[in-house]
Amino acid sequence: MRKLAKFTIVAALAAGLTSAAAHAEDPFIIVQSTTSTENSGLFKHILPIFKAKTGIDVRVVAVGTGQAIKNAENGDGDVLLVHAKKSEEEFVAKGGGVKRFDVMYNDFVIVGPKSDPAKVARSKDAAASLKAIADAKAPFASRGDDSGTHKAELKLWKDAGVDVKAAGGDWYRSTGSGMGATLNTASGMGAYALTDRATWISFKNKGDLTIAVEGDPKLFNQYGVILVNPEKHKHVKVKEGQQFIDWLLGAEGQNAIRSFTIDGQQLFFPNAGQENMKKAG
């Protein structure tokens, strides 16, 4: 019995650790990215195409943009693919990344309960709608997690001239969690929320929520891709990482992004190499 127990423990440890090591032998890169790209299913659609061509396994860590950038700064990833242009440019300027490229865009929408207590339905003016929500003191669920969506939301509140900090805990509810979790919260308490369209379309627990505001150019959501700086972090897989970026920005990657649809709707719009950003929508 004692021998058996010993053997079992040793075998379990050996199995646990060796198979952990075996995984590390395949060529792979780690991409720090956002929940919107992962949760919407985009990566599930495009990564197998890339893997079939290059044999490179892309391992996606999907967190909020703030955390993704922080992880990339620490060198815990080879490529960064997020959506907060200003933060991305700061990241490159500080030497964390090599160069930033536009990859694709989608847009944000403001969703809210069908009863529409703030009377903003079918508005195309995001800032004015937020002002109306604030004036009506209608509940609003915010990411509150320093993600790209949260940053975009704060900018819109600023444009609307509303101090949401003062309203925290009242009608303004900061969930401090991911997009899906925030939508679950909004759905549960009949609140408005800002969400990227991709997550919204693939989200299954809409409940009473519906799109209230869309089509404002301010709701444009640009994604950028950056190779983590190998001069700062020597272990960065430059060759494979660059290969992934080149593929994403090239015709094949851009077509792969374009061909991703849910219920016949295209969710991301490739725009690599285009100087002038198109309007969203």
């Binding site: 199995a15 646990g16 996606v60 060198g75």
Partner: protein, 235 residues
């Protein structure tokens, strides 16, 4: 009420469908948590036995600390292991972050205090019974610890099961150090968190049922093993 029924049939359907992805996620969950518990037993049982047997100044404080660490928040352990294993951290050169090995490390840290504290408690009682016998035999501290662990193995299996329960159920640590990477570090709990965030509440709940069934299975297996061993020992 009909919703809970549909969740149950969804869970059953998932298991019966033999979905390869689900099974690989279940296998990884078991591998990570069982390895972590085995490591935690290797460290925690002798540690608990040592604290039960040996008197030294500061022992009370050590026991109190150990008991407090039973409640280590998983997310804090995850953050700590992340900072250690991050490429910018002291152990970054090994490249262990975002691998199952990192998850095993985090869960080992999480459950070792629990196993050690429970072991100390049950072995202290046992030691009280055997103390005089051990003394008359002139056993060394090491031999006493080994004898106690061997003698108390059945009650210690409960400590190991408690550790397993904590490991298999936690999400806070593994999602930080594993990164919830598909096919690589995605386990049951991180899948449930992900499906919840996608709004797939029924699927998330169905996966939760499977996780509970899994824990039940492991507990039943250990219980059966214990019984067989006991029967053989006293036969």
């Amino acid at each position: 009420m009909s919703e809970s029924g549909s969740i149950f049939s969804l869970a059953l359907g998932l298991v019966l469908s033999g979905d390869a992805e689900l099974w690989s996620i279940i296998a990884l969950s078991l591998r990570v948590s069982l390895t972590a518990v085995a490591l935690a037993c290797l460290i925690g049982l002798p540690l608990g036995a040592f604290l039960a047997v040996v008197r030294f100044p500061g022992r009370g404080a050590a026991v109190a600390l150990l008991n407090a660490f039973m409640g280590l928040p998983p997310v804090v352990v995850g953050l700590f292991v992340y900072l250690m294993l991050s490429r910018s951290g002291p152990l970054g050169v090994f490249g262990l972050l975002y691998t199952p090995a990192a998850m095993i490390v985090a869960q080992t840290i999480l459950v070792t205090p629990l196993i050690a504290a429970l072991a100390r408690q049950s072995l202290a009682d046992l030691h009280g019974e055997y103390d005089e016998l051990f003394r008359s035999l002139g056993l060394s501290t090491g031999a006493t610890i080994a004898a106690l662990i061997w003698d108390g193995r059945y009650s210690l299996s409960t400590a190991a099961l408690a550790g397993f329960g904590r490991a298999i159920a936690e999400v806070g640590a593994v999602i930080i150090v594993g990164g919830n990477i598909e096919h690589v570090t995605r386990v049951m709990t991180t899948t449930i968190a992900l499906e919840t965030s996608k709004g797939n509440l029924a699927l998330a709940m169905a996966l939760g049922l499977i996780l509970i069934a899994l824990a039940l299975g492991v507990n039943a297996a250990v219980l059966a093993l214990n019984r067989t061993a006991r029967r053989l020992a006293y036969a």
